[in-house]
């Protein structure tokens, strides 16, 4: 009985009525051409990177999913918008479609790996754009940011933001060179059994490269993976570069450093003895995010290398 009701329902509802916007542009997405409104006003982001790019170009979405943190978006967004105005529509593990619907969005910015089933429903609530990018490249996040900005009609703004970012990175780079502090670096997460090395093809390592610090992964990270398996402590010398960035998901980076220091193998590293270990916010450093997060990374680098 329910099934027949369902079928009847599918046939009778005219979904296009939900999407009431005459003026539209076509955008090329992972799910084909999508018509998006010229001047979207009610935007929902289902991805941290999309929220980042929107805020960077001065567009404040109505709703967003929480970051990997607890029940709000990542802290660094707080500098750019009033977080209390942002409606939470789910967590990265489950999007609440009803909450999305309730906001009556006219545009939904979705992540690259959106499952097809979710897309089918979301795209009937509002035009849903899914970028056709590979996040596992150093510049994938730029493509993503450009994509979201262009959907928002902010092509010029995002170019300006990215150019400013490059300028700042170049400035930091020259200052690092002056200070003679450059070189190579590894970005790792410290686990009880040893470190996991972040791929050199990530957002954070890409930003790092722009400051002249060459982030490496020693060939330990398999293609298409964000980080290596836990490296044996016997092979720790493989991450002994000029700098070591310790990404921690704790608010307190020193605590993670303390944990790593308990390992005698860690203490033996030249980079540790030189005091070149930098604890950084893993929430920003190990995600694929946008221009705002890139600035946070530049802050970290500046603070650590150019005190």
């Amino acid at each position: 009985m329910l099934r027949s009701v369902l079928r009847f329902g599918l046939a009778s509802v005219v979904i296009s009525g939900l999407v009431a916007n005459a003026q539209a542009r076509e955008v090329n997405t992972a799910f084909g051409e999508v018509d998006v409104p010229d001047a979207p006003e009610r935007i929902v982001t289902l991805y941290e990177g999309a929220l980042d790019a929107s805020l960077a170009v001065g567009v404040t979405p109505l709703g967003a999913i929480t970051s990997r943190g607890v029940d709000t978006v990542a802290d660094y967004f707080g500098e750019h918008t009033d977080l209390s105005e942002l409606q939470i529509v789910g967590v990265p593990r489950e999007t609440n479609l009803e909450a999305v619907l309730r906001l009556e969005p006219d545009l939904i910015l979705a992540p690259a790996e959106l499952p097809n089933e979710q897309y089918q429903l979301l795209s009937r609530i509002a035009p849903t754009v899914v970028p056709d990018t590979n996040p596992l490249t150093q510049d994938g996040w730029r493509e993503e940011s450009r994509f979201y900005a262009s959907v928002l009609g902010k092509e010029d703004e995002i170019e300006r933001v990215l150019a400013e970012l490059d300028e700042r990175a170049a400035d930091i780079k020259s200052r690092i060179e002056e200070a003679g502090e450059g070189g190579n670096a590894y970005v790792v997460r410290w686990m009880p059994g040893g470190p996991m090395i972040m791929s050199s093809q990530l957002f954070a390592t890409g930003v790092l490269a722009a400051t002249g610090i060459e982030a490496e992964d020693g060939g330990l990270v398999a293609e298409g993976r964000p980080h290596s398996d836990v490296l044996s402590l016997e092979n720790l010398s493989q991450i002994d570069g000029d700098w070591l960035f310790l990404a921690t998901l704790n608010e307190d980076g020193e605590q993670a450093l303390e944990a790593a220091r308990q390992s005698s193998a860690f203490e033996r590293l030249n980079v540790v003895q030189a005091g070149h270990v930098v604890p950084v916010d893993g929430q920003v450093w190990s995600s694929t995010s946008g221009p705002l997060a890139a600035n946070v990374i530049l802050d970290d680098v500046e603070q650590a290398l150019l005190p």
Partner: protein, 373 residues
Amino acid sequence: MLKQDNASLAPKKAMFNGAMPAASPLRAPDGYWRLGDRDGTGLSLLIEKRSVGVNMLLAVALLLASVAYLSLGTTALDPRAVIQALAGQGDMMTVFMVQELRLPRLVAGCLTGGAFALAGILMQTLARNRLATPGIIGIDNGATAFAVASVVGMGVSLAPSAMALTGAVTAAVLTFGLATGSGTQGYRFIIAGIGVGAVFGAVTQLMLARVGIDTANAAYPWTVGSLNARSGGSVQLLGIGLAVGFVLAFGLARSLTILRFSEATARGLGVSVNARRFQILMLSVVLTALAVAVAGPVGMVGLIGPEIARALSTPRHVPVLAATLSGALVMVLADLLGRTMMAPIELPVGIITAIVGGPWLLWILMRPQRSRP
């Protein structure tokens, strides 16, 4: 080792419900209605009054739960608006919410809940153990491992739900294969299943530890069970499967009732025990596999549903229909709770059923043994 059900003390007449000796005058036994030929020349059907009442009760409860399910959520709707929306009337948003978001999810919930519970009661009758579920023989873990493999991209291009189905079947085949020779009875089968499940569980953990947190997040619904991640195709498949499975289970009902007794009794009553066992087991496994492909591992429903059905029914029959309805009811209520409790954040249904079902299970274990099986 496995205690024989206390139900073996149930009146023997219950077992002949399909073919009562043609004694005249034909009166239905106490607590039964008799349908069919009044002259006693043809076949007649005995219908237990109590089971009719129980099933009606459960159906009404399910209906009420469904209305609540369609009405409540992040946005609460008036039940009248829901009924209008079902007919396609009202504002677009309400119609969309009811028809496109809540109704398909409700249908998926009913079907998975029913299938898990039906599979559960079949398995429990077979193992003569009220705590046996297909999940315990590793099917859930197999499905999870394969679905997670699909999500984390271990070189497979099948959709997670198709992979979950494959995984469930693989785990079942492995368990069958490993337990053959010792018969499908009792603990060997369960132990083989626990072993298979442990291996798949370990592989899942390993896969989750090797990918980034974003991918691990994407795989999460498949590790706890959620109705948010369902795919239309798998729901249709389950719908067909449950319909067929239910008819088959009904056909096997008499054998099921007899199988609760000792093997010798069943043989004496003309049931080919091994063949029946195998059929029931297959049915249970297939139903679980289809349901897991929709919702992921929500196996606890396979314990709670049958338990409710047994508590309500007389011990004369295996309450196949009541278990199915109870399972659907539990699933719908659990998902309703998950959707509304912490709105706007939705809790996966698998977490709710486990948190409710865990204490329930422990209570059953601690409860005095005089209760019915």
